[in-house]
């Protein structure tokens, strides 16, 4: 039980700190510190260019994908060293937004399933931020029930022909590569007829249409495929093995998301201090409960890190991170706007209380509760995998896919 660095960890931290001091884009620091929740916007420069520049610089010194093998562009550091790196990187980590899906989900999937040659050509570029990756999983008819996707892949010699539609694809507009799950056999049960590919997003027949989100941003998109051709060499896993490949991605998704999610609680304390509300009984009661949840998340992450550094695998208990953080931030935002009174109506960052950060949280937090496994799916995972309760009844499990009834599509 200790929070101290071992001598090796302390030496690593010193090295990380020194490198950041010499290399980070310090001019952006003030802007990054106040950057809100949701998409990154910078006044002084183009955010994507700034992100790419920082990622590239990190890659040169092995900090871009710290855990990965060096031959794939990584730094081969230990789990605990990655955590230390993250602590030291601090606000500059906000620049990694465009690469999170690639580094956290697509990269590990490629690393597990692609050929050696592919790994050596794709992964270093991904790590260095030269290529942006997106995750082409969800469809209008299938989100939580991912195995119900319909985008078709049909074999034509050495190639596959793709037709269909994906939706909610984050970052597709900027993406160079996509990880694409398709249906190759509608005649068998739904989990068994799937096949995974990676695809050049500039391929003829790929069309990306941004979707305007409820918070007025548009990080996610619709992606249409019309007779898009993918070489068979870009298949990951065997034909029909797509579900297993997808599980690699999803496992990594929950892990990378679960780490250290913002909750808005420190910001709420600042607001209460500025408004001189820290002696108000009603405020104290809410604030303390929020703080206890937020602190519980922080130390749950610390416990996972401790387990990781002892060489243990973090288990499904990791699911609680996003489950707690999503609704916590939503409640914090609602409460902050209650405290702001009618001024809470103002979103304009120049006028709004605390640069409008609680308004931004209010409008972004619903997404946290849906993306990457909704609250309900996460509760199911905890109930089934941690507590050992029975799985839900699945009426479609053994039916051939084409006989499964379906209702309204999401769009």
């Amino acid at each position: 039980m200790n929070f101290d660095d071992t001598p090796e960890e302390a030496a690593f931290r010193a090295r990380a700190r020194a490198w950041i001091a010499d290399n980070a884009p310090h001019a952006l620091k003030p802007e990054l510190e106040v950057a809100g929740f949701g998409h990154l916007h910078l006044q002084s420069t183009d955010a994507l260019a700034a992100s790419k520049a920082w990622q590239k610089k990190k890659a040169g010194a092995g900090w871009a994908a710290p855990r990965w093998p060096k031959i794939y562009g990584g730094g081969e550091v230990s789990p605990i060293e990655q955590v230390i790196w993250g602590q030291e990187e601090g606000v500059y980590a906000k620049l990694a937004g465009p690469f999170v899906i690639g580094l956290g989900m697509c990269g590990p999937t490629v690393m597990h399933w692609a050929s050696e040659e592919q790994k050596r050509s794709l992964l270093p570029r991904l790590a260095a931020g030269e290529d942006i990756w997106c995750q082409l999983f969800s469809e209008p008819v299938a989100g939580s029930d991912l195995a119900g996707i319909r985008t078709r892949a049909e074999r034509d010699g050495d190639e596959w022909v793709i037709n269909g539609q994906k939706i909610w694809t984050s970052g597709a507009l900027d993406a160079d590569w996509g990880l694409l799950i398709t249906r190759t056999d509608p005649g068998v049960a739904k989990h068994r007829g799937l096949t995974m590919f990676f695809l050049d997003m500039k391929s003829p027949g790929v069309e990306v249409r941004p979707i305007r989100q409820m918070n007025q941003e548009s990080s996610f998109n619709e992606v249409y495929f019309t007779d898009v051709r993918i070489p068979d060499a870009q298949r990951l896993g065997a034909v029909g093995e797509g579900w297993s490949v997808a599980l690699t991605t999803l496992m990594n998704e929950r892990q990378s998301i679960g780490g250290s999610m913002p909750t808005g609680v420190p910001e709420l304390f600042d607001l209460c201090r500025d408004m001189d509300l820290l002696d108000d009984g009603a405020v104290i009661a809410r604030l303390a409960k929020f703080a206890a949840r937020s602190s519980g998340l922080r130390y749950t992450a610390f416990r996972s890190i401790s387990a990781l550094s002892r060489g243990e695998q973090p288990g499904p208990e990791n699911s609680i991170g996003k489950l707690v953080a999503g609704s916590l931030m939503q409640e914090v935002a609602q409460f902050a706007l209650d405290l702001e009174g009618e001024a809470g109506l103002v979103e304009d960052p120049l006028l709004a209380v605390h640069q409008g950060r609680f308004q931004a949280m209010l409008l972004r937090s619903p997404a946290t509760r849906i993306e990457g496994g909704s609250d309900e799916i996460l509760r199911n995972i905890i109930a089934e995998r941690v507590l050992g309760l029975p799985a839900d009844i699945r009426v479609d499990k053994d039916l051939p896919f084409k006989e499964i009834p379906s209702g309204a599509a999401a769009r």
């Binding site: 009984g281 104290i284 409960k289 050992g388």
Partner: protein, 368 residues
Amino acid sequence: MQLDFSEEQRALQADVRRFFERACPISTVRKVIDSGDSHDPVLWKQVSEQGFLAAAIPEAFGGAGAGYLELCLVAEEVGRALAPLPAVSSLYQAAELILMTGSDAQKRTWLPRIASGDVIATVAVAEAAGNVAADLISAQVSGGKLTGRKWPVSDGLVADLAIVAARCDQGISLYLVDLASAGVSRRAVKSIDPSRPQAEILFDGVAVELLGAAGEGLGLIDAVRDRAAILVAFEQIGGAQAALDMARDYALGRYAFGRPIGGFQAIKHMLADMYVSLELARSNSYYGAWALATNAPQLPLAAATARVSAIEAYKLCSSNNIQTHGGMGFTWEFDCHLHYRRARYLASVLGTSPLWERKLVAAYRSAA
């Protein structure tokens, strides 16, 4: 960084768990409740011989000298077993207060006997509705004699020694009171958790001895409760885990509409929420254990955080455990209500949530 217990500490915990499984089955708890006894003397003697609860008392004063991390894990097992023992009164509070502020003579007189279980000690602060505050204390000491009425006093009927908060010229002070002294009269009062009995004690000109500096009583109570809150949080997570395990087992075995009720999402998700609440409380308690063991400056914040979340987790797990059991959960015969009652005892005994929420925010504020 290791926010976790060591293998040796886990091995000790496993020993303690096996001990309680053998020495404190639920029938032992029931026996205390049904007989109206204050505690189980046989169990108390065995626990004392093992030295489990004296883990944090230095060897020089008759304790095991193991440390607070060990005591935290013992507390978790006490909570899991619903052990009917005066641990919160005698060890987590009274012994800690004497250690914290007693004179050398007071430590040598009392600590070895508390450690060996020969003396049961308690703390008597409350006299009226409301969390501890100077204006709620009217018990008074003048000329070395204590007069007043204290209720509820946990384990007050069986205790040999009480640390009493009372008024004196300098404000509120703490006093050591031998409860066998002339002028002490006491009676049992019905307790919401009969496995943790309560008493009312009348003091009529009882000879007392000052403990710690005069006028510092409330500060000392506050300080000792920060420490006790962390140990109690471990009892709470032990109890909450037991309640969750009971609910899970029942949900797997009970059938309705042709399948286990644990297959219905309303039940699954309720249990998942219990698990989440418990994990948050557990993580906060581990942090508290670290702060307690290292006497960290973050102790007040860690204690309040652990307490607020452990109170909530045990309340949630014990009430939803009843819900999961349906009508059976509302019977005297099933054990669900034992956790529900214990959760309430532990939520009240060191002062309730509103007090600790204030402490949490105050500590956060001064830490920032």
